[in-house]
């Protein structure tokens, strides 16, 4: 059982700290016991082996393409590790992956399988950009403008995701499918926004105005915007939320045994909507910081698939916030390094996508095999 093993480590402290009234010690012990099936060693070993296996397959594909895999991988590593540029680019690329990935991790812990991060990201970017480029608003002083834009984007993402959650609890609509349908609808909303709604009247192509004063400052000594610092700061917050807070306990408890939570008079519906709203808020935040930190304006090609790559990041990070942070940086490093290697060795640009997708498939396979070896489920 993929997700339950992943939840192992931070469930236990939450459960043993006696999570307030409504969940007696017996219940907490049961959850802890259930979660204790896999060890932390296996939990870390599986993603590491998955990465190694995916890189090995990737190496075969690179060799098939006529390049030396070792030189290509050496180029990837040196492009990331050499100089400020590699670090800065990696951190910048990791920012949306970590933010959206944390949201997925929280939702998947509760066994709410949303895959709609891409749509929430776009809606966040659209609403946030509309706000910071809006008439009257764009003349606000810098920080009020940035902060209000972030709030608008976060709320918009949360609402878009919360809608899928609400349709799930109110009508029983499968969240996997409804969250994905909302991606396509968000895509259309973006297309309308940049063509008409918030289009830059001066521009010949479909895009918003420049975000101007809402542009995010860079971290001192780097070319990375402060959105990266925000993403990193949210990692421990998410860890605390999942491990210690009652809400976090509810989330993991719901993931393990929805009916037990019912018996303890905690509403399942609340948990589902809560995790969907958190996931959407983080994706919406990713949308606006990518726009104000990197792109400078919203264009028709804003959908680049961070919302899907972040699924891989969340699973590779074992639905553990720190793991998501590491996985996000790793994925970003691979992407940034590959861009450089691709130029040098003339590789197909889609190869890196195959490698990252293989990683997640191998994680899934590894979990299944480990679960099978343990004899549970």
């Amino acid at each position: 059982m993929t997700v339950e093993t992943a939840a192992t480590r931070s469930t236990t402290p939450g459960a043993s700290s006696g999570s307030g009234p409504g969940s007696g010690p017996g219940f907490a012990a049961r959850v802890a016991e259930r979660a204790g099936a896999g060890g932390p060693v296996v939990s870390i070993l599986i993603p590491v082996l998955a990465v190694v296996a995916a890189l090995a397959v990737g190496g075969v594909l690179i060799a098939f393409d006529g390049s030396n895999p070792l030189s290509v991988y050496r180029e990837i590593v040196s492009a990331v590790l050499t100089g400020n540029r590699g670090f800065s680019d990696t951190a910048t690329a990791a920012t949306p992956l970590i933010l959206i990935g944390l949201g997925y991790a929280i939702a998947y812990r509760a066994r709410v399988f949303t895959i709609g991060g891409e749509g929430q990201y776009l809606i966040g970017a659209l609403a946030g950009t509309a706000w910071v480029t809006g008439a009257g608003l764009r003349d606000l002083p810098r920080w009020p403008l940035i902060l209000s834009g972030v709030v608008v984007a976060t709320l918009a993402g949360a609402a878009w995701s919360g809608l899928a959650g609400w349709l799930g609890v109110r009508f029983g609509a499968n969240v996997v499918i409804s969250s994905l349908m909302l991606v396509y609808i968000a895509d259309s909303a973006l297309a309308w926004g940049v063509r008409d709604g918030i289009r830059d009247p001066e521009s010949f192509v479909n895009q918003s105005r420049q975000i101007g004063r809402a542009s995010l400052p860079e971290l001192p000594g780097t070319t990375t915007h402060i959105g990266f610092a925000i993403a990193i700061a949210i990692v421990p917050l998410a860890a605390v939320l999942m491990a210690r807070h009652r809400g976090g306990f509810r989330i993991t408890a719901y993931g393990h045994n929805p009916s037990a939570l019912d018996a303890n008079e905690v509403s399942n519906r609340t948990v589902i909507i809560l995790v969907m709203v958190i996931a959407g808020a983080l994706a919406g935040l990713a949308g606006i910081v990518e726009t104000t930190g990197v792109n400078g304006r919203l264009g028709a090609q804003a959908s680049v698939g961070f919302g899907f790559q972040a699924i891989i990041v969340a699973l590779l990070g074992r639905l553990n916030p720190v793991g998501v942070g590491i996985a996000g940086l790793g994925m970003a490093g691979l992407t940034i390094g590959f861009e450089s290697a691709q130029r040098e060795f003339d590789l197909p640009s889609s190869l890196v996508g195959v490698i990252t997708a293989l990683i997640v498939v191998f994680v899934v396979v590894g979990d299944a095999l480990a679960g099978r070896a343990r004899g549970d489920r």
Partner: protein, 289 residues
């Protein structure tokens, strides 16, 4: 509204609906035995690329359709190995499979065709044989589930695997068969898309139709005929959307782009509670639990 009733629109509705209908039938077969196939989009896409490549290599659109079906069935076998035999989480595995298929088809396509320039158009099939093929699949599935021991056993495995096992039916084997048939139908749907009137493969050519098909199965209450009707409804929205894009209206054309997905979402919402989900859907089966 009269755009809906034009013959050309209805024709387009069927053309756009048939691939989705085939994929929905595929999802339905495996779901009836309790296997939720969220890799459907990826299987459709794999079948589409396989069908295109075989069509281009042999010059025969029918061989393309056959190749797409076989590749889809192969994808189904991979999924069955993971979720039935190894009992991996069905939701996560399906999503992972689709992500892999999306990048792998893009990679293979780029490898084969981008270097030499524009990918060629391939031989195209008329809609008539494809429609007949779809109807034959509906009839076959109806017959399977209502008139054969195999089909009834499949249904039993999806509703009460313990009971089916106690009666001597092989739960894992039946789920394997259903997942492979389902994958084959999804691959057929993908191949029908590219070897049909389109005659072309492009990156992510299925554009979410596999996911739409999954929603339609819920809408259809796991009934083959209703699933096809739902797919034609989706095709109709898609056709109307394509037609209205060209005409000047007060409504922005992007609203029409979103229309098929909005309708799918609404259909999912309206029918989610009313339709009877197979009781063991998504639950791996372990003997003696």
């Amino acid at each position: 509204m009269d755009v809906i009733f034009k013959l050309a629109t209805l024709e387009a509705a069927i053309r756009l609906g048939v691939p989705v209908a085939l994929a929905a039938l595929g999802a339905l077969v495996s779901e009836r035995t309790g296997v939720l196939n969220l890799g459907l989009e990826g299987m459709m896409l794999s079948g589409a690329l396989g069908g295109y490549a075989a069509n281009e290599a042999t010059g025969s659109a029918w061989l393309g359709v056959l190749a797409g079906t076989l590749i889809g069935a192969g994808c189904g076998a991979i999924l069955a190995l993971l979720v039935v035999t190894a009992r991996a989480n069905q939701v996560v595995t399906g999503i992972a499979f689709t992500l892999l298929a999306l990048s792998a088809t893009t990679y293979l396509f780029q490898l084969r065709y981008s270097i030499g320039g524009i990918p060629p158009r391939v031989n195209r099939l008329d809609m008539t044989p494809l429609v007949l093929l779809t109807l034959a699949c509906v009839a076959a599935l109806w017959f399977l589930f209502n008139r054969t021991t195999l089909g009834l056993a499949m249904g039993a495995v999806g509703e009460a695997p313990e009971a089916a096992d106690a009666l001597g039916y092989k739960v894992e084997r039946l789920r394997w068969i259903a997942t492979m048939i389902g994958g084959g139908l999804a691959g057929l749907g993908g191949a029908a898309l590219v070897c049909g009137p389109l005659g072309l493969f492009i990156e992510n050519v299925t554009a979410g139709r596999g996911w739409v098909a999954l929603a339609l199965v819920v809408f259809a209450g796991w009934k083959p005929g209703a699933a096809v009707a739902g797919a034609i409804l989706f095709g109709l929205c898609d056709a109307v959307q394509l037609r209205l894009q060209g005409t000047a209206t007060d409504v922005p054309y992007e609203a029409f782009l979103a229309l098929p997905y909005v309708v799918t979402l609404v259909a999912l919402v309206l029918r989610a509670r009313a339709s009877r989900t197979p009781a063991a859907l998504g639950v791996p089966y372990v003997r003696g639990m």
